[in-house]
């Protein structure tokens, strides 16, 4: 129990150290504070990996410094002849098994998180089909509403609106080349690949806006493919949806050619 408590303490101390640097603007050592459970899972895993990573980093760098400072020829007695040691089976086995144990532990925790948050879900409350194209995103809500988020750097792009605290399944489709949908505060990225559908989800726990970008080089406009996700309270969202339905409803007058869609 004591060891476990110490482990938890270490974890939370490391999390505090890392997150206290959050928001420094430009030099943060960790992701933005996550607002969706899958993002939180990744965040916790990142903190967990950081504990052995920081220990190993400091340990090895100190050892590297130590050997070149302590065993400099100028610090050795005159005429010093170093012992010629060809190896040591015990040591070599030890520093084979120790890293093995560390990476297996990291792999295990990673795999648990992978199974928990990266399986295609079936219990979603809402499905949005996200189509990537050169250069922008279309969000098809399935009820006739489509948000066209055309890429630009000149100002903010049209936000992708979701209700807060709602499990939204995202179904990614590529229509030309490969794009990758990434909002760091929500979760990892998912590629929109032509030819098959890819899945992710989000469940944003607070009202607000979060930014992201396309993460897969897709042509000259790659850098313009900004993403804004806006989480609204359910009532605001309902209002927004009604407005979209009204404005996007195909006007009945123009041509008699009944469109198939």
């Amino acid at each position: 129990m004591a060891a476990r408590a110490r482990g938890l303490f270490g974890l939370s101390a490391a999390a505090f150290l890392l997150s206290s640097c959050d928001g420094l603007g430009g030099i943060s050592p960790i992701f933005p504070t996550p607002v969706s459970p899958n993002g939180e899972g990744i965040y916790a895993l990142y903190v967990g990996i950081s504990i052995p990573a920081i220990i190993i980093f400091i340990g090895v760098e100190v050892a590297l410094l130590w050997v070149v400072l302590r065993y400099r020829r100028s610090r050795q007695p005159a005429g010093y002849v170093p012992p010629q040691i060809h190896g040591h089976t015990g040591l070599e086995v030890a520093w084979t098994l120790a890293p093995l144990a560390v990476v297996l532990a990291i792999a295990w925790f990673s795999f648990v998180e992978l199974q928990r948050d990266f399986q295609p879900i079936t219990n979603e409350q809402m499905l949005v089909v996200v189509r990537g194209h050169q250069f922008g995103w279309d969000y098809d809500y399935g009820n006739g509403v489509v948000v066209h988020q055309e890429g630009t750097l000149a100002g903010d792009v049209v936000p992708f609106v979701v209700p807060v605290n709602t499990l939204v399944k995202l179904q990614f489709q590529g229509t030309d080349v490969i794009h990758s949908w990434w909002v760091p505060a929500i979760s990892g990225k998912t590629d929109a690949v032509p030819g098959y559908d890819n899945f992710s989800w989000l469940k944003i726990n607070q009202v607000g806006s979060w930014r992201g970008e396309c993460a897969e080089l897709c042509g000259v406009g790659h850098g313009t493919m900004q993403i804004i996700v806006k989480a609204m309270s359910q009532s605001d969202y309902d209002q927004w949806l009604q407005k979209q339905l009204a404005s996007q409803k195909p006007s009945p007058s123009p041509s008699p050619s009944a469109s198939p869609g």
Binding site: L64, V68, R73
Partner: protein, 552 residues
Amino acid sequence: MAATTVLPRPKAYDDTFFRPISIWLTTTDHKLIGIMYMVTGILSFLIAGIFALVIRLQLSQPNLSVVDAETYNQLISAHGVTMIFFFVTIFLTGIANYMVPIMIGARDMAFPRVNLLGFWLVPVSIILYYSGFLTGGALNAGWTGYAPLTEKAYQSHSLGVDFWAMSLIVWAISGIMASTNFLTTIVALRAPGMKLTRLPLFVWAQISTSILLLVVGAPLAAAMILVEFDRQLGTQFFTTQGRPVLYQHLFWFFGHPEVYIMILPGFGMISEIIPVFARKVIFGYMTMVGALFGIVFLSMTVWAHHMFTVGMNTYVEGFFMIMTMLIAVPTGIKFFNWIATTWWGSVEFTVPMKFAWGFLATFLIGGITGIYLASVPVDTQLHQSYYVVAHLHYVLFGGSVFTIFAGLYYWFPKITGHLLNRKLGEWNFWTLFVGFNGTFLIMHTLGLEGMPRRIATYANASWATTNLIITVSSFLIAFSVLLFLINVVRSWNGGEIAGDDPWQGNTLEWATTSPPPPYNFERVPPVHSFMPLRDLRESGEVVAAEPEPAKV
């Protein structure tokens, strides 16, 4: 300095260097071919470095347009292709071409004319790639050239992709030739007594590198041929209607082992340099060899860790994750063995040793960030962000470039007969070390904050300061490389005379003159261990002789 005037200059190559160009075109001497490889590599390094500076200028502040987005995409592609295919791999092939036959006590490579052909395919490959610029634009899809962006539907304006594909096919053929030649040479032409268990670790590293390139060169050529089929014959392998992810599988089956093709020779050089300057025998020779082959095997089972966001089955992702993480084990063994080699040593902190330490200190960071990237959930955040750019530069710059500098400072005296200037070397090292870490350490944070790689510009003002620091530091790297070039030119033309064995080396290349005669050895020394020269020195058979003029 007085000594330099007394010692006669070794004349083996003095004639050749100034003889007409035809010598370079027709020589089958592995040493001249090695020099040509290395010079080609360094020239590529300079060109790709200039591209990097333009890239950094473009990114130094938000919304700049030093170059337009299309030019930017061509520049990042050319930077990556040139650094990876035409600098690191080519330079390392060159230094191995020069050193491997001498280190095993051979007169030349097993197939000298294949060696020459293999070299001349490299300029052909380079010219093919750069011809793309004359057709309206070179490759603009990054060095990985992901389909379908490389397909005709999105590239109607130029033939850049075609020239890139042809260039890489020629490059792969050249690499397969060189690898076959290395393996045959090492198997067949070892000096009497040079058992496999007595091969210098650099030669073992070259064996593992050659095996890798032999296995993965063909899939690269296959991927490029399929890209060409799509573009010129209208097939649908990787098009929007085809299977773009298949391209990624083929490319990364080459691409990940290629990372080790670029680092294993460096590991080999470090394993030569540390024992010499610590005056100790390498700790755990057999585990070092075993670790090399562990890496060779594992590196061919990890390619899909570049594809964790394409939507694979989570168990498949788990497999590639665990194989990737396992690479930390053999790499860790090598690190610990290098530290143990130095422990209780008598360390002379010369410039090659400093670069070796720069490599260890920085490559460690690349290795640790590699664990984060191997973890699938964390990778979905970090993938294709500036974190990856930082990671790969810690591995390839902190790894390959620092080891290349270490090897150059170590073997330059053997190749030219002159030592590189130590003072300039110190400046070279420290400016490179500071410039490199200044450029790439804070780059990790940009990725964590959401800056994707390969964007031509950005609007987010909070990234501006970090990017400016990176740009300034990148110019410090350029300054350091300039110091290096000055050092090379100055030292080659009249630097301190090295003599046969300036470092008290362990391996056979130090038994012959500097530079070695065309046939390498008048008499190949006896080999009783993996440190034959040291054995001779300790038994008193070899004298620290003043270099005699070689008889040609």
